[in-house]
Amino acid sequence: MLRMLVRRLFLGFATVWIVSVIIFAGVEALPGDACTAFLERDAQGKLLENCRNDLGLNKPAVTRYLDWASGAVRGDFGVSPDGQKSIASLVGDRVKNSFLLAAGALAVGVPLAIFLGVITGLWRDKWVDILFSTGAIFAMTIPEFVSATVLILIFAIWLDWVPAIVLTPADAPALDFFPEFILASVVLTMVMIAHIMRMVRSSVIEVMASDYVQMAMLKGVPYWRIVFRHALPNALLPAINVVALTVAWLLGGVVVVEVVFNYPGLGRTMIDAISDRDLPVVQALAMIVAATYVGVNLIADMLTILLNPRLRTLSQRRK
């Protein structure tokens, strides 16, 4: 087991490293650099040269990659082209806000999704299942900006229950966001619930049809005891990984939702940075998101290894 964990950890680090190379190389391959972006396209001659010298852009790519990567490991993503503020401080609050939003969505969404998945799986093809499964397809497929728009139209404009957009500054304490991010997290939660629910449902159906559940029935185990002791521990194991994958979706989906609700998070910062061609900020954000994604998946895999007796005892058996 230990070997599997170490192996998985190694692969996780390898992936993050490849991500950093891709991000750096990707930005490198684009025409122009931080200075041309900062100084507008027609900047030439001395000014450009000075700027490049200031930011160290004349060094070879490999050196700059190493500088950037070693900084990133320490949480230092350099300074923005105007040279005034460090990117880390610029981005820090925004990232915190986004994580807050995602965490809220996860905290509500995951238990609810698992609950719905289990009941739709157990009552397969009954009305509960048909209702929620159909709902899930809608929730899953309608673009976030569409559902957000519709929700704003209904709850903020027609019913006037909640504010339509967030006006709180980025560095405000978390609690200040609360009324404003209700709609935003509802939008995020819906899609996530749909994905996790569908997966849990299919896994529950498969496990309930398994030989060991049939055997438990024929052993006289009461129904709900079968569900909780025999079926669910097996059905929910694969859900761990799906939850992790959903986090990835959450981090991407957050971009659009933040723009719709004017929420001062990582997504909106990203859009602003791209509009301003502020590539170092884009690099930093991409790196943060990717590392989070890899990290969450790593944790999910490790949890699966720890919780699944089959994987846990693999190495012992080999001996």
């Binding site: 398994s210 060991y212 029935m217 052993k219 006289g220 097996n234 089959r310 005892t313």
Partner: protein
């Protein structure tokens, strides 16, 4: 007589077909079982035997429903009971031992916890007494080291151990009756023999009623007093075991018996032509009429009832009195035997194969153990036109050797040659087309070896295009010709494998192999996924091809009787090492390797008078010992340290028969 524990009356079970019609899978079945009785239910796949067994617990698989009749347990109808009552009976008074215990034990629960659950539900013991009781039960099913098993997860046990746990779990409820649904299918012969002995003893000691469902008449013969034979959802014959197995009064039962290969019979088993009707497809008359040799007009028009057929048995047959004229074994064709003096067709010279391949990361983290080859030191020469049988339990390396010959696995050492010493390149990709066509392989499971998206025509076209460059009309004609040699008509050409029965699929797979006009055909357990009556047909087919084309076979099987029926010479493998090789009658004779003796003695014959002898423990070994005799750890005749340290010598008994053992020939039994 005592009141029956299980009383099934006129039970019919069915499902709703696509057209909305009700299709029966079980028709008018009666069955009564009393305390202390053990009843066997035999039948081929689809005969409804498992449905019947589960119905006696008041359980139906999804989609099935009771059409008529009743199932009473201790006098009360199971299907009329409340769920809580059913829960109290199931696992309590009525225990089930399932077919595949590996999949029937909950993977996330430790054995101890699963056993404790059974006790909690069906036992009045206090919680603190559970542990002692579980250890006691695990001991009763003869599991070594119950304390260790207690904390294990199901996947950490071997198949035999899992089956024993399932038995212990059923015993936890102190059952009055036990249902056994193919409890030994899929286990090695030696393990099977041990489990059956255990069940016999338990049934005797506890005076339980047993319903034993199996496709294997040998198993039934060993454990049951009465037998019920099922065919297409009906009970066609029931009676005392001795009567049913020795002189059955129903044509189907006789056909079934005749299709079973036996150790004592040198003839090929006789195939039962045709296939059973699908549910609801039997027509008005007898379900077996279409395949019956004794069929008369009445059989087509009217469905026979169960009628007394003498000697305590009942048969669902109008012509039961004449059924005794049909053969029930011993009349099959003589297999074509070649002596092994022909030209060599295939020779393996000191072949060893190692499965362990270590990935980049494994190497990075070390820990790659110094590996002992999975298969080692194999030298066999197969003469042209000869059939070599390779036998051994699961994990003995039989299939691995075939794959190496076919070039699908690279041997770690040694040489494989065809004809007179033409060494073959190790991997199939390096072999020339002419080398390739000489060796063809038939796989175990046709569901897996035929591409589900190809029609029969496309499947047969592959070798013909590749080796003969046929196309167009010539290709079609040749394909149809080949199809007819395996007794399938041209109308099969457009079918997909999914539209064929198991036997038909395997025929197509055989046809595909012979389409290449090979000299050597490798058969990898080709009958083990099939019903016995279909298995017999495959053996006949192989024999026919041998007659026509003088083909050389390497025939791999775990079933010693099947190997005996077909082979000229037999090689016995244990843990990837040869134990014994020689002419069939010598290997199956008295003088043999201790392991061969263990295997032969564990074989169950469909004859209640023949009892197996249990010699070695049914331990599963994961890897062979690094030195000495591979069988040393299980051998009951181990000769001390010699067997541990020294590789045993080949001892020749003459006539090409050799045994690899430290025990002198005189002590290995003699003729």
């Amino acid at each position: 007589m005592a009141r029956p524990i299980i009383d099934i009356r006129d039970l019919s079970i069915g499902f709703t077909g696509r057209t909305g019609k009700t299709l029966p899978v079980l028709r008018n079945v009666d069955l009564t079982v009393r305390r202390g009785e053990s009843i066997g239910i035999v039948g081929e796949s689809g005969s409804g035997k498992s449905t019947l067994a589960l119905a006696s617990m008041g359980f139906l698989k999804q989609g099935l429903r009771v059409i008529g009749g009743s199932v009473c347990f201790n006098g009360e109808d199971m299907f009329a009971r409340k769920r809580s009552e059913l829960e109290a009976i199931r696992g309590g008074q009525l225990g089930l031992i399932p077919q595949n215990s590996g999949q029937s034990l909950t993977p996330t629960m430790r054995i101890g916890a699963q056993m404790a659950e059974a006790l909690e539900l069906h036992c009045t013991l206090g919680k603190d007494a559970y542990h002692a009781r579980i250890i006691d039960l695990l001991g009763q099913v003869r599991l070594p080291d119950p304390e260790a098993i207690f904390i294990r997860y199901p996947h950490e046990l071997s198949g035999g151990q899992q089956q024993r746990v399932a038995i212990a779990m059923a015993l936890a409820g102190e059952p009055d009756a036990l249902l056994l649904d193919e409890p030994t299918t899929g286990l090695d012969v030696t393990t099977q023999a041990h489990i059956l002995e255990l069940l016999r003893d338990l049934a005797r000691d506890r005076n339980m009623a047993m319903i034993y469902v199996s496709h294997d008449l040998g198993v039934i013969a060993r454990v049951c007093e009465r037998v019920m034979v099922m065919y297409a959802g009906e009970a066609v014959l029931q009676g005392p075991t001795a009567e049913v197995l020795k002189d059955p009064a129903h044509p189907y039962a006789r056909g079934l018996l005749a299709s079973i290969p036996r150790l004592c019979d040198t003839h090929l088993p006789v195939a039962l032509d045709g296939r059973p009707p699908p549910p609801g497809g039997g027509g008005a008359g007898c379900a077996f009429a279409a395949r019956c040799a004794l069929v008369v007009d009445q059989c087509q028009a009217e469905r026979p009832a169960l009628m007394g057929a003498g000697n305590g048995s009942q048969a669902r047959c109008f012509r039961h009195a004449d059924a005794h004229t049909l053969a029930a074994g011993g009349t099959g064709a003589d297999p074509l035997h070649h002596r092994s003096d022909g030209q060599p067709a295939l020779s393996l010279d000191d072949v060893s194969i190692s499965y362990a391949s270590h990935g980049f990361l494994d190497r990075l983290f070390g820990g790659a153990a110094k590996d002992i080859p999975t298969v080692d030191d194999i030298s066999i020469t197969v003469a042209s036109g000869e059939t070599l049988g390779l036998v051994g339990e699961s994990g003995s390396g039989k299939s691995t050797i075939l794959k190496a010959v076919a070039g699908l696995l690279p041997p770690a050492g040694g040489q494989i040659a065809v004809g007179e010493g033409n060494a073959l390149p190790t991997m199939v990709e390096q072999r020339r087309p002419q080398q390739l066509r000489r060796i063809q392989m038939i796989f175990q499971n046709p569901d897996d070896s035929l591409n589900p998206r190809h029609t029969v025509a496309e499947i047969l076209a592959q070798p013909l295009r590749l080796y003969d460059g046929l196309s167009g009309q010539a290709l079609t004609e040749r394909s149809v010709e080949i199809l007819e040699t395996v007794r399938l008509g041209a109308h099969y050409m457009d079918r997909l494998p999914g539209q064929l029965s198991g036997g038909e699929k395997q025929r197509v797979a055989i046809a595909r192999a012979f389409a290449a006009e090979p000299e050597i055909v490798l058969c990898d357990e080709i009958t083990s996924a099939l019903d016995v009556s279909v298995q017999a047909a495959m053996l006949e087919l192989l024999n026919d091809f041998k007659k026509m084309k003088d083909t050389t076979y390497v025939f791999v099987s775990h079933d010693l009787a099947v190997v005996r029926a077909l082979s000229d010479r037999v090689a016995v493998l244990y843990q990837g090492r040869l134990c014994e090789i020689g002419p069939t009658e010598k290997v199956y004779g008295n003088q043999s390797h201790p392991y061969t003796s263990v295997l032969l003695n564990a074989v169950l014959e469909p004859d209640p008078d023949v009892a197996p002898t249990l010699m070695a423990e049914d331990v599963v070994e994961l890897s062979p010992p690094s030195t000495g005799c591979p069988f040393q750890r299980r051998c009951t005749r181990k000769q001390g340290v010699t067997c541990e340290n020294e590789t045993p010598p080949w001892r020749e008994t003459g006539g090409g028969h050799a045994i690899r053992c430290h025990i002198p020939l005189e002590d290995l039994g003699g003729d």
